[in-house]
């Protein structure tokens, strides 16, 4: 096959990286995305991207980056691909620099680097406060160049629904939905790359963008792909609770002296400034006298969660605590924190220089995702995956600024892998045509059923209930009894889903219909997360069980692999040993 046709689903950093490699290598790409690719979630990343360039005379090395990543991930990641990623990272930064990313510079004109969590080195390159946006745009521009040369064909505002699998279970293309005309169509491909990002919407509100539903990953899991380490969910300690989403509040607020507290009396309605010191509880300072407000992310997150859900002391009965900067003078705040304080002002409407900020841990990132081998291939032949939607680089916990590099690296590996896979494929025979027809019909039937469904359930309310219970019981602190209840609740929601009544039955740009389809997949994937958490009776990285507070390498130094049992309509689990051939596991103690 001279010029293979590859379908890439997703145009965030991962999907665009894969696309560029394929187009450069002479392949043709059909690029699918729910939103115009330039509006993908990757634009939200602010902090930066890691690479051990060692430009600060600190003796940093790619091995050190590798060690920090494995250690930070509590030894759950298979080590060889992580090592390869860390070795590739410096050249990736150089390439982005050549593409015109306006990285911050040193006086000499070299790239500047900052320090991030989980390392002692200045290893994070950044472009102002919008690194993700700048990286995405650079890749988007290169893809636009290939688009104008005819190598890339964009299907923006098209949603991937499912893979088309032949009788042998080999992927022959995809089935997708035009989000305007609502047409269901199949697209043949010699190989498919999935780069559909995060799953924040399963938790209702998160720091993720609206389209991060995990629907595509879930659809593939239901078609037979393994989903790995789903129970590992990163929660950021300080996000700004919003009615619509949780916006990130940078760690630097605490770094500059911000203090976290709650009123000692539950439901205290007073203006925070009028609550006397003696009636405030600075719980982080009390519990962790050594580090105070600057305990590591997971510790701070757990403490806040406990105060709200176990002590019932959230502000005004809501899941929120104060992050207080008002004791610091305005000039200092403006000099050091202006950018992030503006975000708070813009979206909350209060000035954090005058009023304590209200913050709460927010679901931020999934370490788990589609299972892939060391070459980004999923368990379905012909389907590759890269970016946040796959599981392989971050183990039990992701280090800050490591996601962007894993997305780009994963894209750079999966693109050429998909091409070489496609070149080795024999031309599919005509019997495959039936597979396209039947997959399209299957999807059209799902649509028809949903459109004609009569009942009283509103999908957005089911979604809110899912988000509430997932956030409460499957994020920060996990108890087996609560996890079992969560799974029961999801089963109940799936049952209620059968009685949904769509208020909008138009077959044109029907966003609530599209959302309702995604909701089904969210519910199915939520069970993988909840049950995976229930099975892992230990504490590791972001997964914490008070009943099993220690890491248990003897039993759980293993990748969780979930697969869908169609007859039972629920997940089944297997465990796979982790490749720790390069760095021997040691206790994780910061």
């Amino acid at each position: 096959m001279a010029n293979p046709k590859i379908v890439v689903v997703g145009g965030g950093l991962a999907g665009l990286s894969a696309t560029i490699k394929i187009a450069e290598g002479g392949g043709n790409v059909d690029l699918f995305s729910v939103v115009p690719v330039k509006r993908s979630h990757s634009v939200c990343a602010q902090g930066g991207i890691n690479a051990a360039k060692n430009l600060k005379g600190e003796g940093d090395s790619t091995w050190q980056h590798f060690d920090d990543t494995i250690y930070g991930g509590d030894f759950l990641a298979n080590q060889p691909p992580v090592k390869d990623m860390c070795e590739a990272a410096p050249a990736i930064i150089d390439l982005l620099d050549r593409m015109g990313v306006p990285f911050n510079r040193t006086p000499e004109g070299l790239l500047d680097f900052r320090r991030f969590g989980g390392t002692l080195y200045h290893r994070t390159a950044f472009a102002g406060a919008t690194t993700g946006q700048q990286l995405l745009y650079a890749l988007d521009e290169q893809v636009r160049r290939y688009e104008s040369e005819g190598r890339v064909n964009k299907f923006e505002t098209w949603e991937f629904l499912s893979a088309v699998l032949d009788a042998q279970g080999v992927c022959r293309g995809i089935c997708a939905l035009d989000l305007r005309s609502m047409e269901v169509r199949t697209f043949p491909a010699d190989a498919v790359i999935i780069a559909t990002g995060g799953i924040g919407a399963i938790f209702g509100k998160s720091t993720n963008s609206v389209v991060c539903t995990g629907s595509a990953q879930s659809a593939l899991y239901q078609q037979g792909a393994y989903y790995a380490n789903g129970e590992f969910i990163q929660v950021h300690p300080t996000s700004i609770p919003g009615d619509d989403k949780l916006r990130l509040m940078s760690e630097s607020a605490r770094g500059e002296g911000g203090r976290v507290w709650v009123p000692k009396t539950a439901g205290d309605k007073r203006d925070p400034k009028s609550i006397p010191e003696s009636e405030r509880w600075y719980f982080l300072e009390e519990w962790y006298p050594k580090y105070g407000n600057l305990v590591p992310r997971d510790v701070a997150t757990r403490a806040i969660h406990k105060v709200v859900y176990e002590h019932g002391l959230g502000i005004d009965g809501q899941p929120m605590v104060y992050l207080d900067l008002t004791h610091i003078d305005r000039a200092t705040l403006d000099r050091k924190l202006e950018g992030i304080l503006e975000i708070y002002e813009k979206f909350v409407g209060d000035d954090p220089r005058d009023t304590p900020m209200k913050i709460f841990p927010g679901m931020h990132y999934t370490m788990g995702g589609l299972w892939v081998d060391f070459k980004q291939s999923t368990s379905i032949p012909g389907i590759f995956a890269c970016g946040e939607c796959e599981y392989s680089y971050h183990g039990a916990n992701r280090l800050g600024a490591n996601s962007l590099v894993s997305c780009i690296y994963g894209g750079f590996v999966s693109g050429p892998q998909a091409v070489s896979y496609a070149k080795n494929q024999t031309k599919s025979d005509t019997s495959v045509n039936g597979a396209f027809d039947s997959e399209r019909k299957r999807q059209q039937e799902i649509n028809a059923r949903l459109m004609s469904s009569e009942g009283s359930e509103n999908p957005f309310r089911i979604w809110r209930e899912l988000g509430e219970i997932m956030t409460k019981d499957v994020t920060v602190i996990r108890y087996n009894a609560a996890l079992a209840k969560t799974d029961e609740k999801i089963v109940e929601l799936l049952e209620r889903y059968q009685h949904i009544n769509l208020s909008d039955k138009e077959m044109w740009a029907n966003t609530s219909f599209v959302f309702t389809r995604q909701l089904y997949n969210m519910l199915q994937l939520a069970r993988v997360i909840a049950q995976g958490a229930a099975l892992r009776n230990e504490s590791r990285g972001a997964h914490y069980k008070p009943e099993f507070p220690e890491r248990d390498d003897a039993n759980f130094l293993k990748t969780t692999k979930a697969y869908f049992a169609p007859d039972a309509d629920e997940p089944r689990f297997e465990f796979e040993p982790v490749d720790t051939s390069l760095i021997k596991p040691r206790p994780r103690k910061y």
């Binding site: 006086p107 946006q133 636009r144 389209v211 957005f460 208020s503 044109w508």
Partner: protein, 251 residues
Amino acid sequence: MAQNGKTVIIKVKRQASPDSNPYWEEFSLPWKPGMNVISAMMDIAANPVTREGKPSRPITYDSNCLEEVCGSCAMRINGRARMACSALIDNLNQPVTLEPLSKFPVIRDLAVDRSVLFENLKRAKAWVPIDGTYDLGPGPRQTPRQQEQAYPLSRCISCCCCMEVCPQFNDKTNFVGAATIAQVRLFNTHPTGAALKEDRLHALMGDGGIQECGYAQNCVEACPKDIPLTDAISEVSGQVMKQAIKDIFTR
């Protein structure tokens, strides 16, 4: 949960499809702290009933990041083109009127087709022509000052607010609009990007080109990202003029 019994009135200009007639609908919602236009529309979706108690449908609109960085949610709010996710209800006069951008084809309700900007970026070759993605070492050195000049231009979120408010951006002139011109400036300034400078300037000449701009400066006021648009337009105008003269002598 209604707090203090306060309500919010939202008035939406709706349209079922590109060629159907627009109509207005009003919704009354319980006020919540920190509400913005998007969260209000999410509440409508969870209970799509109009102010008069008539069953309605969720509103179609574009959104993604909800933190004013993806550029999806531009619309006219109380008559002004701006981003819905950063429009706090408490800062808006009521009723809050929501209308689609007026200069782009309506898809449905508040969602419009803004692909014209992406097409313009293609015509303007808004990219750095690298040789390839293989390892060629670092890019050209740049001073912090150069970075400080490029960075603000590179923050354009392609929301099209600048085009919506521009008196020259209409079917008669075919004017490309301020956003594309700012990107031309960005790439013409980049040491490698400058290789395509002439192509970009030619793309901005003639029908719909930069000379259509009347310097009304509406664009720079509407831009949610404070992109220095008028600076970019005068700089690029100068470049286009020089290029035009050069063209005369080299043809």
